[in-house]
Symmetry: C2
Subunit: 417 residues, 2 copies
């Protein structure tokens, strides 16, 4: 392949119409009447889209390999095959009532990058590698993002192969059923950098009218179980000042959670997603409330500070209202900072394309968050309608998908030389 | 019987030890291992305590009648039989895990009044009538307080006789089973005034160290169903300022409910007893919350004002938080003011006995609240431990029970002349 001048590659654009057609062509594998996709990992429909993907890659001159967990790798040679490939991709599996863009966009935009380079006759120094990770969604087999986690060394291949779905089928059996238990050892394939294009799955870009999210990293998460013990009493005979109403304790705490997250904004979020009054009755003052708390921020120090402030608020409210307000942390995942160089490449690509953009942090988990533990990684977000995802109504525009593919293309060119 | 001088009747006291012994003697009918009573209305145990009561009344020279709903009336003649009797009493049925004092105290203290007058050889101008109302508790047959409601004309006898318990047994069958379907037409027996002694079932008297509650009336009640419609969104990807978190709407509203009830204090109370997040999940911002609201005050105007303020708060919170906060009133019961003359008689009786006291409003429903619609009525409260009732651990002291019986005695003497 011939090396083109920087000016010509900087003007290179993906074919947005072809990408859009490809997205809709593959949406028939597991397509639902409501316009979504039901394509659980390693299902027959997943097998069909994998077959389509392999054939499309081969038609684009790529060499497709499959690892022992079914992840597909499509390689485009570079001028210097001693360099580790610049990789990009996402996943083709969906939620049971998923949309047409979550994961799919990242893989098919990657295919579009390969096709565009082919059409322009452009070669790169480093090889390029397009990846379709197995089971990002986690709907059929837990945990989610298991293949990329195994690639990063968080699980062994055997651990993952033995996971079972609700029907008792193992990952190994499901791989064999669709012929996708590949020969490559998981994690053996070298990757020099990884870039994942994805819909935002949140409302920020759309609200701010930005086309590109330059993703700096994945948030850290802390989960808590909470319990409030007040005193159950008669709603008719207990004067207000004598009450120890656990729901009022929760109410003050929920507002404190909001206040604390706002104070650590704009990226900090905290949510009481479940709250249950024990033995509730219309004419009984609530005595006990159980609740959950989900807290996220891109910085560990912020998670620490928020937790300290939440515990202080709980103690203050509990003391003043004569009740106990206990918080138990049940899980914590540290933030995943993406690689500064790869993030800068994404930003420069968006800038070079004249696209509106903002730095952003991923609130959801992605294969890229797993890869980041081993490989220089970043992500590119494009807007989705109303921030809705994991829903058949999930929607993104052709223009935004094309812009995302352009940024992916230009980022890859910058990284691969 | 002979008329005694005012000074001698003013010094008359009930026999507190005899009352205490009687309370414990009858507690064996349905007595539970934990020291409570399981004596559902019209059960075999209720039949046993009714038989005991009839025999005890007859032994005290009273004439016992039974009406068509099983209510027992024990008459002590007066010097002027053209006067309607001064009535007092309560109920001998209990909750399935009830205590020894709820209802029982009022009936057995009434018996003690009769016995004390007999022992002292004191007659009254008006006859005295001790009443044991059928089914105050409502645990077996709904509604609660059905016999006194029928007496007051709120239901026909046939309506009540046709009510069924969970096993399908009618009130008529249950009355026949224990031989307590009496011959008297319900509501035919004239009553000149009614006084009910009862444990407070709330914490106020105990907290303030008062022995006697001079009950001015029963609270009015309004019940509401509430619904908050925010917007469900991802706990990781939705920035705090963009959320429409229904639980935070509920939290603000719950604190507004508390604030408004406190502002209308000391008697106003308002309670969110049930609150449910629809489709809750640990990592989803709550989109919808359903809740109940119970609001009480002794004055209609206060109920009106509180409702208006609550609706204003709901609109303000909903508008500011971009969610709907709908309140639907599903029931309202107007306050029951007791008769000023009977209340004054209770207060004068307590004052004459040198007992500490306060005016109080009943937060719970009582047969007296039904009677008040037809007959000049008041109640006397005595403290119960920690305000606990409808529980086997329900507790009152011998001294407080005796004081309550003394006040009942002196009130009856004032009313009956």
């Amino acid at each position: 392949m011939s090396q083109t001048s920087p000016s010509s590659t900087h003007n290179l654009r993906a074919d947005g119409a072809r990408l859009w057609a490809t997205i809709h062509e593959t949406a028939r594998f597991g397509g639902t009447p409501k316009g979504g996709i039901n394509r659980l990992t390693l299902s027959a429909e997943d097998g069909q889209v994998r077959d389509w993907f392999r054939e499309a890659c081969e038609a684009a001159g790529l060499t497709v390999g499959v690892d022992a967990l079914g992840t597909q790798y499509a390689l485009r040679p570079g001028q210097d095959m001693s360099l580790p490939p610049v990789a990009f991709g996402s996943h083709l599996d969906t939620q049971p009532t998923g949309g047409k863009f979550d994961g799919v966009l990242g893989v098919l935009a990657g295919l579009e990058v390969m096709r565009t380079l082919n059409d322009a006759g452009i070669g790169t120094r480093a090889p390029l590698l397009l990846v379709n990770w197995t089971n990002e969604e986690g709907s059929r087999f837990a945990p989610a993002m298991m293949a990329s986690a195994a690639y990063a060394g968080d699980f062994t291949t055997d651990e993952i192969l033995a996971k079972r779905d609700a029907a008792g089928t193992t990952v190994a059996e499901a791989l064999d059923a669709i012929g996708y238990r590949g020969g490559e050892a998981v994690g053996e394939r070298a990757i020099g950098a990884f870039v994942e294009l994805h819909i935002e799955q949140g409302p920020i870009l759309e609200a701010e009218g930005k086309t590109i999210g330059v993703v700096e990293g994945g948030q850290g998460i802390a989960w808590f179980d909470g319990r409030i013990e007040g005193f159950e009493s008669h709603a008719g005979t207990t004067p207000m000042p004598r009450r120890r109403d656990a729901l009022l304790g929760l109410s003050e705490f929920a507002l404190a959670v909001e206040r604390i997250a706002l104070a650590h904004g704009p990226s900090a979020v905290a949510t009481i997603g479940e709250a249950t009054i024990l033995a509730p009755s219309r004419n009984v003052v609530p005595g006990q409330v159980a609740f959950t708390l989900d807290m996220r921020d891109p910085r560990s120090a912020t998670l620490d500070a928020m937790e300290a402030e939440l515990r202080e608020a709980a103690a203050e409210i509990g003391g003043r209202r004569r009740m106990t307000l206990a918080l138990s942390r049940i899980w914590r995942k540290e933030p995943v900072p993406f690689d500064a160089g790869v993030v800068a490449a994404v930003e420069a690509a968006a800038e070079g394309l004249g696209l509106s953009r903002r730095r952003i942090v991923s609130g959801a988990g992605h294969d890229a968050c797993n890869l980041a533990g081993r490989v220089p990684t970043a992500m590119i977000f494009v807007p989705c309608k109303d921030g809705v995802s994991h829903n058949e109504s999930e929607s993104a525009t052709q223009g935004d998908c094309a812009a995302g593919a352009d940024v992916l293309l230009q980022t890859v060119l910058r990284l691969a030389g």
